[in-house]
Amino acid sequence: MNWLGWLHDFFADPAHRSGPDSVVHRVLEHLAFSAEALGLAVLVALPLGLLIGYSGRGLFVVTALAGVARALPTLGLVTLAVLLAGVGDAAVLLPLTALAAPPVLVAAAEGVRGTDPDVRDAARGIGLTHPQTLLRVCVPAAAPTLLAGLRTASVQVIATATVAAYVGLGGLGRYVIDGLATRNYPTTVGGALLVVLLAVAVQLLFALLIRLAAPPGTRTRARRAGRTGRTEEPVPVDDPASPPALVKETP
């Protein structure tokens, strides 16, 4: 039970200073893989979410999907993917992307949906086409909500990438899993601490981005939401078909 001793052992270990098991390399691996999964999720979910939000069609499907995604166990999806597709990063990328996509989809749909209809009418009235209205009016207005969705997805991806070390993925989860397997407590705790620091750092980055992204017209509202860290996140009087939409996913 000696925290400082463990952390000293962890950081003093020459293997953690340089080479493939070094802290820097593991952090970069973790970040690169998480960014890849997040990027893929955005590529798929963002256009779809924007279209759904703008047309108002299929919102029900989106919220239902988000509810199902929340109920799925990440460890189960990751182990299943590796059994079916073989060991390798590509096999893990699929469940990670699938888990990151719903929050992005919901945020895009709800964000665009939440744009003031008068503003939208005005944009149409001055001659903007539908795509122009979506991209120049709705997307900037929805930016804070969108970023909040991305933040949720990033929490999910960083946590799941840690768990995925169990099936052979690199990154900081390696320390945790390898340390547990060999009963090497300094390694496990050092890795866990680094994961926590990374997650908090990414959260702070997103909090900053959300504050910066608020368009001038909505700034007071967005600032309030940014300060509590919960943008457009009411838990409404609900019905079984639509679970609360923009709630955070599994950590």
Binding site: T79, L80, V176, V195, D238
Partner: protein, 220 residues
């Protein structure tokens, strides 16, 4: 890769019915007791926050950070205090995650009581405690149950990660299936976790219908 192994061996499921039931029960305890504990903590904390709004911002900020912490890392950090493969190692963090969801909903619920209703209760001679028990808490039930639904479903899917530190209820099926290159337990585990989440969610919706029948008409 699976060399000729079928995706699901139905016989295995039949042979291990009791085993699966035990794991599901264990999973329900590990995942849902923390949610109940969090509810017991969220109501008084929410009351304090509704009364002293200055308290709320820092608390909300702290729980926002807590919620972002990856579960596996938190489990691991707790091991020296709660022990490897004990329920507590998994249940303590799950309580914190559930509290992070429930505290804002409790505060929102208590703040949502319309001022005229509050004043009417006072005018009828209700003291602060009786008003709390008879007016404010019941009025916040729909909010609390909304929060409970999210917290319970997340908790159920998160508890499975506990298998990596030796105690994860149904999560054990994932570890077991992976080590033996045997997909049947993994699929059974995913299905049972999802079913448990669905059943809990339906139960909570039913509870809201009973406890707060007036909320039905307001539902979106």
């Amino acid at each position: 890769m699976l060399d000729g192994e079928p995706l699901v061996r139905w016989r295995w499921l039949g042979d291990h019915f009791g085993y699966l039931a035990d794991l599901t029960a264990d999973h329900a305890v590990i995942a849902l007791v923390p949610v109940l504990l969090a509810l017991l903590l969220a109501v008084p904390l929410g009351l304090a926050c509704a009364r002293f709004p200055r308290m709320y911002q820092p608390l909300a900020a702290v729980f926002n950070v807590v919620y972002a912490l990856p579960s596996l890392a938190v489990f691991v950090v707790l091991i020296p205090y709660t022990g490897l493969a004990t329920r507590e190692t998994v249940m303590v963090p799950l309580t914190c995650y559930a509290l992070a969801v429930l505290l804002p909903t409790a505060v929102d619920g208590l703040r949502a009581v319309p001022e005229p209703v509050r004043q009417a209760a006072t005018a009828m001679g209700y003291g602060p405690w009786r008003r709390l028990a008879a007016v404010e808490l019941p009025a916040s039930v729909p909010y609390l149950i909304g929060g409970l639904r999210v917290a319970a479903v997340s908790s159920i899917s998160l508890a499975a990660v506990g298998a990596l530190v030796g105690r994860g209820g149904l999560g054990y099926l994932f570890v077991d299936g992976f080590q033996r290159t045997f997909p049947t337990p993994i699929l059974a585990g995913i299905a049972l976790v999802a079913l448990l989440a669905l059943a809990t969610d339906l139960l909570l919706v039913a509870a809201r219908r009973v406890l707060a029948p007036w909320a039905r008409g307001v539902a979106r």
